[in-house]
C-alpha cells in the first residue's frame, strides 16, 4: 500500500492543484468585475460631459451638441407602463393557476414546458411575431401599445416563474389554516397566498421590467422610429374625461433605440451622446435592480416561515 511519505506527496500535489484552482476562480471573477468596471468607467468618461438638464429636455437633433433624450425617456416610461399593465395581471394569474389550481395532466405539462421554452426564445423573435401579428394583422401600428405588448410577452415567462416560486415558498399549512376556517380556494389565495408572496412577485416583476427597459431588438423589429422629435399626446387632459388614450397609438422611440441610433453614426460627437444616454439607461436599470434587491430583502425579513 501507499506509504506515509507517498501520501504526503500526493496530498501536497492535491493541495497545489486546489490552490491553483482557487486562484483561477478568483481570476475569473475578477475578469467579470473588471469588465463591468471598465464598461461603467468608459461610459462615464465619454458621456458625463454631455449630461445636463438640457440633454434630458431636448429632442434628438442633427447637431450632436443640441441633441437630447426627451422623446426617448418619455417613450421608455410609457412603453414600460403598458408592459407592466399587461404582463403583471396576466403573469400573476397564470402563476396562480399553475401553482394553486392546475391538476397534473397533459395540458398543464404542456403549458409548463411551453413557458420554460418561451423564456429561451430570442427576443428578436418576439419582435418578428409582433410585427406580423400586432402591426399587420391587428393593425395596431408601430405604436406604444404594440411596443408595450411585445415587451409584455417577452417578460411574461419571468413574471410567471417568479410568481410560482414565491407562491411555492408559502407552506401548505397556511392554506390549510384558511380552509379550516371555511375559506374557499379563492379566498385563501386572495387573503393569504397573494399577500404573503407579494414581495417575491414584485421582485420578479421589477427584474422583468428592468430587462424590458434595455431591450431594443424587438422594438426595432416592429419598426420603431429612431428619430422622434415630438412627444406622444399627454395621457391626462383638463377636459372631460380627463384621461386620453391617444398616446397608445403614437409613434415612439425608447432609450436603447436612441442609443443605438447614435452609436451607429460615424461622427464621434454622436458617440458621446450615446455614452450619455447609456449612463441614463444604466441609471434607470440600476435603480430598478436596486429596488428589486430592497424589496426582496425586506419581504424576506418580514416573513419567516
Amino acid at each position: 500500500m501507499t506509504s506515509t511519505t507517498d501520501i504526503k506527496a500526493i496530498i501536497r500535489r492535491h493541495r497545489t492543484r486546489d490552490a491553483a484552482f482557487a486562484v483561477l476562480g478568483m481570476v475569473c471573477l475578477l475578469v467579470c468585475i473588471a469588465t463591468l468596471m471598465a464598461l461603467l468607467v468608459d461610459l462615464a468618461i465619454d458621456g458625463v460631459g454631455r449630461l445636463s438638464p438640457g440633454f434630458l429636455t431636448s429632442f434628438p437633433s442633427r447637431f450632436p451638441g443640441k441633441a437630447g433624450i426627451l422623446s426617448a425617456w418619455v417613450g421608455t416610461i410609457l412603453v414600460m407602463l403598458v408592459t407592466a399593465l399587461a404582463a403583471v395581471p396576466l403573469g400573476v394569474a397564470a402563476g396562480i393557476y399553475l401553482e394553486e389550481y392546475a391538476r397534473k395532466n397533459w395540458l398543464t405539462t404542456i403549458i409548463e414546458i411551453n413557458i420554460a421554452n418561451l423564456a429561451g426564445v430570442p427576443s428578436i423573435v418576439y419582435g418578428l411575431m409582433a410585427l406580423g401579428l400586432f402591426v399587420y394583422q391587428f393593425h395596431l401600428g408601430q405604436s406604444i401599445l404594440t411596443a408595450g405588448l411585445t415587451l409584455a410577452l417577452l417578460i411574461l415567462p419571468i413574471v410567471i416563474i417568479a410568481t410560482r416560486e414565491s407562491i411555492r415558498a408559502i407552506p401548505g399549512s397556511i392554506r390549510e389554516a384558511a380552509y379550516a376556517l371555511g375559506a374557499t380556494k379563492w379566498q385563501a389565495i386572495k387573503h393569504h397566498v397573494l399577500p404573503y408572496s407579494t414581495g417575491g412577485i414584485l421582485t420578479g416583476v421589477i427584474i422583468g421590467l428592468s430587462r424590458a427597459i434595455g431591450e431594443s431588438a424587438p422594438l426595432i423589429t416592429i419598426g420603431a422610429l429612431t428619430f422622434i422629435a415630438f412627444l406622444p399626446p399627454a395621457p391626462v387632459q383638463r377636459t372631460f374625461p380627463f384621461v386620453n388614450f391617444d398616446w397608445l397609438a403614437s409613434p415612439f422611440t425608447v432609450m436603447p433605440i436612441q442609443l443605438f441610433n447614435w452609436v451607429s453614426r460615424p461622427q464621434q460627437a454622436f458617440h458621446l451622446n450615446a455614452a450619455a444616454a447609456g449612463l441614463v439607461l444604466m441609471a434607470m436599470t440600476l435603480a430598478m435592480n436596486g429596488i428589486a434587491i430592497y424589496v426582496r430583502y425586506h419581504s424576506r425579513k418580514r416573513i419567516k416561515w
Binding site: M1, T2, I7, K8, I10, I11, H14, R15
Partner: protein, 268 residues
Amino acid sequence: MVELAEMTPTVTAAPPALKAESKNVSFFYGAFQALKKVNVNIADKKVTALIGPSGCGKTTFLRCFNRMHDLYPGNRYQGEILLHPEGVNIIGPEVDPIEVRMRINMVFQKANPFPKSIYENVAYGLRIRETNSRSVLDGKVEQALRHAALWDEVKDRLQNLAFALSGGQQQRLCIARALATDPEIVLFDEPTSALDPIATARIEELIGELKKSVTILIVTHNMQQAARVSDYTGFMYLGELVEFDVTGKIFTNPSNKLTEDYVTGRFG
C-alpha cells in the same frame, strides 16, 4: 470524572494497544461550547461506542476525529487527539485535515452514496489517492465489498447506479467505500438510525466482523446497539464524558448515578 488510570479492561488477558486518545478535547461552534474537556482512550481493533441523549455532543466529538468540522467556518478545537503509534495530534492546526481523513474514514447517519455507479463509489477513495490502475482498483473494490458483506448482492451489477440499492445496501456500500482505502479508524455516526431492524442487524453483525482488522468508533442513541456491538462504552451528557468503561460494566454496574439513570431508561 473518569479515572483514566483505572481503565484496565478485563475482557481480554492481554490489554489491547492504544490507538487514539483524546486529551481535554473541547469544541466550539462559534461561541457555543459543545464539548467540555473530553478524555477518552480508543483501543486498537476494538469497538468503542459513545452513547447519550441527543445534543450531548457525541456526534460532535466523533466528527473531531476526521476533522469534519474544518469544513464549516467558525468552528474551533481545543485540546489534543493523539493518533498512535506516532502520537500526532490530529486536531492540531498544523496537521492537514486531508491527511487525517486519509487515515480515518467515516460512515454517516444517512447513507450518502455518490450519484455514480456502485463500482465508482467504492473506488472513489482510491482514485483520490491517485490509484488508477484498473486491476488494482478491481481487486480493492471486490475486497472492500466482500468486507462490507455486499459483494454477493452486487457483483453482477457493479456498473449500476448506487441509488438502485436498498437503504441497508446503500449503507453497506458506504461502509465499503470507507474500507476500500484501508483506514486505521472508521467512524460510524449512528449508521443504522435510518434503517429497518433487519438491515440494522446486518450492519451490527458486520461491525463485529470489521473490528478484527480496523479500529471502530461508533456513535449511537440506541443503547441496545451499543451493548451488542461495542467493547468499550462512553456515556456523554451536556458535552461532557460522564463515564467510560468496559461495555459490560457500563450497562450492568455503572459507577455514576447519571449513567445508571440513562441506561435504565429513566431519562434520555
